[in-house]
Symmetry: none
Subunit: 477 residues, 2 copies
């Protein structure tokens, strides 16, 4: 039952926010239980003596975040409590992005998603093992030892960071470059936009399909023609690229294709590079999660085997450090780098110089490699546990694309996709799936600890069973 | 005189790029001299036997980068060379971070700049008095008390920061908004790009001329038509806006016009708002440096007196905290904010959540207001000292636009602009000036301590004297 709410009319915090906080904490605290109804807006207005719009906003916010649901002619009912840590919940009011299912990779038409509270998100990562101490120490250190940092920095990013990146990339990714080829930016989407702006004459952009939805959007904003290129078990279809002479820029994820998880074969890589030379095209190699490999050694980057300045290498620290620290980088072929300095001359780098320097020192000190090794072990355990549970619980299920990265594909042959998504949604389970009638699910495991895995697997297994049974009836409708 | 251009039709490099390279290198090399006219597009097409659009693009690029200016009914004239030091031209662009004149406000066609080591840059700020301790403490605090921060955040920016901004804006700028209207982003340029992407249907963008060059470039990248709108002593000419019915988005800097320093009169503000309603247009109010006022009280923001959701308010902390901490924000009218959430759903905020939280706490603790008050005192002293020295040292000089912000205009009536810039460059002094034959200089004072002021003023005074003497002879050529 709802307990007394005390409001401070003179507090800085808006009234609607105070009400929101009071009610949600009662829900999180268990005072307000799942299934209970909240007082009607009118009643709450009178009790608290606040305007209708104030209560309106508070309820709207809670609805938006899935604390409550609106039952026609009955009122607002408390929903299942979110399985996320308190601070994330309460601090991120109004935040939709923090819910895994608002992962930008859910934005594509190529995916069908049900938006509920439990999800195999591809964007959440293990942050508990983040090296808080060294990061905070480095930040403080940087601030004191290098006050010049507060001045305007280099538009391409601080030289120190670009040097650290060069060393790191040559050691771990066999990427060959010099600091003048690197552009640091606040996220891969930002850099994608920048890269396309650098080549207005390349109107048609080839994109893996299914692929990373961010490219579709970036291209759309700049009036580019997005040309979907299909995939096979070796990666993007180069044959198909040859049938699109207008395409002279192609986006690809060779190390661990998003979302299929396919690693591009060495043969396909050279075919792709050959195409780029013959078509006078640039390849954007998005290396978004190659740090994490579980069986094989990391495949060297396309950029490293390219000898004709055809590859733009794109890297990010969103997955390997934390999504909230917005640092990504692009390695441009020299001609493009020179063009960048002309076209974007005078532009500021979009990343705080303080965090650029912290990252640079983090890379140089070896702290980053240690962190990646540590988290890779954690991810490997989570992955293997989840794989085993899934295969045990779901007869006929199979898994692919799990050698690297933070997600794999779960193939449920014979299960109707639409029906499954529908059933899963009823169970409060958010699923991302590939297009097609048979269910192929994209399973992100980075944030799935064993307990959560057990819960979600049984939910999923249940949904698969129902889907199997109800399939025929569904098909009749 | 222009010398032969050799093109390689089969080269990777697009033709327009080749032409661009050939011509700019002739300018940099001195073959094409300042003041000379380029061949007309038609002539060049015929000579090189290329399409009109090819030459068109090459000239457009040179215009955008300030190599040439377009003279009505006469053609394209070579501007003063942007004498970037060689290393900046080649691969060592990183050095450019030490050149104050890599200020983005040097990129406009409206400005002619010589690039040397000494400069009255408009982008440098006082960083010595930065509250290192509290900032570092807040960062550490944030990191420990709030590990959830490492998770993916709200695309609009963390709620805490957006709430702090609402309170701050209503208290100091009379801006009325709620957190859901605010979008946090890595710099004003980034947000300008985002705002234009939000309104693809508004192709024509009105821009104060002379004005902030960033808008010209942002518009150029997105294929918008930039419509220069002239200014008078009260601000942007609303009359002129009415003569451009196609313009339904207008960029303006009412508090302290960049670069003229004019503060838009109250009368003009209401005219502008009336225009926006009648034309169903949006106004982008860039409030880039209004924190700093020396005589009058800050004029309330346009956004605050607008009652019809016509104003997009744009603010930044680059000048009030530090250029290297990339945090800016836009306040969108509700309809636009809703549109933003649809169009950019799933996009990540480009600012590190850690620094978002630090800034939020910095604002709430009053630390920010204290910092602004402290630096305002410092800037007032520097400004008054520099003003006095300039007026003492240069007979007939006058100053305008110095009530607010971090720069003012120095009018040198009777001094020929081109000659002065030339002389100043010889003295190793970088000057930014308004277009026109008489010299009107843009003087940024934020980074000019007294000793530096003495040195630069005497250099400038010397250059003015020389310019005065040599003017006649120059005019004879």
């Amino acid at each position: 039952m709802i307990s007394l709410i005390e409001l401070e009319p003179n507090a800085k915090e808006p009234m609607y926010q105070q009400i929101y906080r009071a009610l949600t904490s009662q829900i999180m605290g268990g005072t307000l239980k799942e299934g209970e109804y909240l007082p009607s807006k009118r009643v709450l207005c009178d009790t608290l003596n606040v305007s209708h719009s104030t209560v309106e906003s508070a309820y709207a916010l809670m609805l938006a975040e899935g604390y409550i649901e609106s039952i026609p002619r009955k009122g607002y009912r408390v929903l299942r409590i979110l399985a996320l840590p308190d601070e994330t919940e309460t601090s991120l009011a109004e935040n939709s992005q923090h819910l895994p299912e608002d992962d930008s990779s859910n934005q594509s038409d190529d995916f069908s998603i049900s938006r509920q509270k439990l999800s195999f998100s591809t964007s959440s990562v293990e942050t508990a093992s983040f090296p808080f101490d060294s990061w905070a120490r480095l930040y403080r250190e940087t601030l004191y030892t290098y006050p010049g940092l507060l001045e305007k920095g280099d538009g391409q990013g601080d030289l120190e960071l670009r040097e650290s990146l060069c060393n790191f990339l040559s050691e771990y990714r066999a990427v060959r470059c010099t600091p003048d080829q690197i552009v640091v930016g606040a996220g891969a989407s930002y850099l994608l936009d920048l890269i396309m702006k650098l080549m207005p004459e390349r109107k048609a952009v080839g994109v893996e399909s299914p692929g990373y939805p961010g490219v579709f959007k970036a291209g759309h904003f700049l009036g580019r023609d997005i040309v979907p290129i299909s995939l096979d078990d070796q990666g993007i279809s180069v044959k198909e690229l040859y049938t699109h002479p207008e395409v002279r820029l192609c986006f690809t994820t060779p190390s661990h294709q998003f979302p299929t998880g396919v690693t591009m074969s060495i043969g396909r890589r050279s075919e792709l590079l050959l195409w780029a030379r013959q078509a006078d095209a640039y390849i954007i190699e998005d290396d978004y999660d190659s740090e994490f490999r579980y069986q094989t050694r990391p495949t060297p980057a396309l950029q490293g085997i390219d000898t004709k300045d055809r590859v733009i290498f794109l890297g990010t620290f969103s997955r390997s450090i934390a999504p909230s620290i917005r640092i990504a980088y692009a390695v441009l072929p020299r001609p493009l780098a020179n063009r960048y300095r002309k076209v974007f001359r005078g532009y500021d780098c979009t990343v705080s110089r303080l965090e650029q320097q912290v990252l640079s020192r983090f890379l140089n000190s070896g702290g980053y490699s240690r962190h990646v090794r540590r988290t890779t072990r954690i991810y490997k355990e989570r992955k293997e546990y989840l794989e085993k549970r899934l295969l045990d619980a779901i007869p006929g299920a199979s898994i692919s694309g799990s050698d690297a990265g933070l997600h794999f594909l779960l193939h449920l042959s014979g299960t109707d996709r639409e029906t499954l998504l529908h059933k899963a949604k009823e169970e409060g389970l958010s699923l991302m799936s590939l297009p097609g009638s048979e269910a192929v699910l994209v399973i992100g495991f980075a944030g799935i600890v064993p307990e959560k895995a057990d819960q979600m697997v049984s939910l999923l297994a249940g949904a698969v069973r129902c889907a199997g049974q109800s399939e025929d009836t569904d098909l009749l409708n």
